[in-house]
Symmetry: C2
Subunit: 500 residues, 2 copies
Amino acid sequence: MLGTFAETCDNVTYSRSKIGIYYRESSPATVTGENLAYFDGWKAYEENPFHPIDRPDGVIQMGLAENQLCGDLMRKWVLEHQEASICTEEGVNKFSDIAIFQDYHGLPEFRQAVAKFMEKTRNNKFKFDPDQIVMSGGATGAHETVSFCLANPGDGFLVPTPYYPGLDRDLRWRTGVNLLPVTCHSSNGFKNTVAALEAAYENAHEANILVKGLLITNPSNPLSTVLDRDCLKSLINFTNDKGIHLIADEIYAATTLGQSEFISVAEMIEEIPECNRDLIHIVYSLSKDMGLPGLRVGIIYSYNNQVVNIARKMSSFGLVSSQTQHLIANMLSDEDFVDQFLSERKLRLAARHAELRTGLDGLGIGWLKAGAGFFIWMDLRNLLKTATFDSETELWRVIIQKVKLNVSPGGSCHCHEPGWFRVCFANMDHQTMETALERIKIFTSQLEEESLNRTKPMAKKKKCWQSSLRLSFKDTRRFEDGFFSPQSPVSPSPLLRAHT
Amino acid sequence: MLGTFAETCDNVTYSRSKIGIYYRESSPATVTGENLAYFDGWKAYEENPFHPIDRPDGVIQMGLAENQLCGDLMRKWVLEHQEASICTEEGVNKFSDIAIFQDYHGLPEFRQAVAKFMEKTRNNKFKFDPDQIVMSGGATGAHETVSFCLANPGDGFLVPTPYYPGLDRDLRWRTGVNLLPVTCHSSNGFKNTVAALEAAYENAHEANILVKGLLITNPSNPLSTVLDRDCLKSLINFTNDKGIHLIADEIYAATTLGQSEFISVAEMIEEIPECNRDLIHIVYSLSKDMGLPGLRVGIIYSYNNQVVNIARKMSSFGLVSSQTQHLIANMLSDEDFVDQFLSERKLRLAARHAELRTGLDGLGIGWLKAGAGFFIWMDLRNLLKTATFDSETELWRVIIQKVKLNVSPGGSCHCHEPGWFRVCFANMDHQTMETALERIKIFTSQLEEESLNRTKPMAKKKKCWQSSLRLSFKDTRRFEDGFFSPQSPVSPSPLLRAHT
């Protein structure tokens, strides 16, 4: 009696309620991903969040990819631009017009300002057409809408690993499409290769899954890497050759560090005149680059008019509040502000990145060299008891429960190799970062001390793309030891709690 | 090569693009409804909107169910409550906290304030639990979410006719469920009867469609009727007996006129202790009752915890902007304001309703007696050449092109009987309403004059629930005559334009 959705998509399960009606439910393990460690870490944080005075032993949130370093710049701007709000003396004359505005095309000035901002965050090398912009409820809604537009249930999208765990929910849950992992390896810095794409494409073919596209996240979440020109070109050529879509999630466009250059797919296709642009789509949002995730500004930029038209109709399910459109239109139209904001933001991000990087280097902890992002891809492979995801989870539990840091294990991001962790650094103040580094230091000292006591040799591995890693212990008991706060009883693992 | 979605849901079609990829597309005629007269009328209005000075011959929008009579009350409130905005001196200290807030539970104060508002708009006779409130992207998103939660593709919901055309898009487009019309008749004032429900249920059974629920819109759009106690009780009992869900769209809760009483399903189930509350769900929004459609505040209130949990996860695709949540939480927490607002709003709506009602009565045009709404269900059956929907469309074209009023024909609302039109009255100022009535007067005078010239007898029909209708002409030519502005060439029908 299961519905066709269940038959065509084994990622959605159904349960029979006491009243004899079937509910469509997510199977958390496979679709929403909400029982993955990624989300469990969030729960642990929410139950006991760190506060320097009130909860100094609380969990520090290093699993949240947000930039909270530049709120002051925006607060200053809104105070100086009272006309941007419909709730002020200067702006209230527009209250009624804005409050009743519900055209799914969006305010024209909103789309124009977003297009201009997208150009700025991509170095002003090319133009975006406001008419190709579709709004949606955050990148979450944008991804689902693109998936609904391009694929049928049962079809698949290639996705290089590791990738943001939320994509399983966003692209698959209600659409019934499959995500087909393209395995990337640490041996070459998790690069996307055509060989790996071909292999994944072939696997899908053998499994009778129609591949509809390739989804890349550039800059990468969780790797923080940016695709270089050659790689991006090869991906465009690969998808064009196969006649499949290329969806570029570029929500971290403005997070590059130092001299690193972000190359948008929009820039690259200018250099490939033969490229079929009907196959190119960009997912964007203001959650990362502006630090406004609560405002739910998601963007689909498609070169395909058919997709624009359909997605625009679908946007009715998740339009951006007109109050927010009005504010954003005003803010992003202020080009001087945007220029200064992006410039100052880059400096602050770089400083914070340096702080974490230096801290980890000082402790001999490895991380993937990368050119962007709000996070570092930390290499703790040598701390695993065995090279398995069970060991990774075990280590993660220690980190969350005893070190009290919520980092995201690579397994939750579908990483192929156990032992990697995503560590966010832009969502906290300097003092909290110092506390986090101090905790890691105590943790590693404890491990080192235990190791010396057992006089085991340290197995070092250092690769060209990682800094040194001094720690390498193979002691099962250390994870059971209450090393961080031995006096305190360890609270029951939040992992055992019910999924609400 | 069509996808499973197409196979299981004949309301979604696919077209093969030039690049060999299938796109999922809406079939406008059957799913999005965007080629229905309801939407065509909007297009005609958008191309030539009435303005008393700039476009005195423009189309007057009487197809928009909005209350624009009370914007001044809200403008006054926001100016007096600067702390409610995150963009003011008084409120900016919350800018950062609000801007990064993206918990899909919503701001606790938002849910509390909405629950309280829902109680007020239902006469404070019972309590709503803030924990059962799920937010969504307008009622549009709320309806789709409920549909995704309760039904599988191919399942069906019973929906009494006539109903809001957008439901075809909202409930069906991406979910693949069917809407099963329950035919209501003018002979008893379009009442919902158990006999009609049973018949529709039986039809579905014979068509092998699993019925998952009954969707009612109360107060009704487009009828403006409110369900009485006995009727509502019979619907609850019917759905409970069948073990199917009852979804009550109550977005017009606070639009009752005069002494009319709106009885929420939430009130009624208090009187039916044996009712299985797991089957009861309410869809609500602030678009109609507060007049804030641009802010996209949709609400699902479910008594079923499983639905609450799943819907809350799904709300990630269409969260309400935190900036808007914050404003609404503040505004709706001001109980004195809400009381005064609802009271003043009721007076203004009643006055405007009386204006249209009196105007139509004076012209002998019939309409359905009803106790709520922003619209009147106007009876022009006696103006049809034949009792067909082709004739209805023909008449509608005259009204839109020559009388230049955008009203919504009943056929677009799946009305069973041709000749009914929904006429909105709360989205315009007094002067525009006077102009609209003047145009109708000229129209009817013209028709009457033509009739007298042809000395045809007038066929009057007057039913207990309608006022008198003096007009009854059967002249095919009158629709071709340029009666309203004979000097001006009639512009090509916007109906012939491409659907963008």
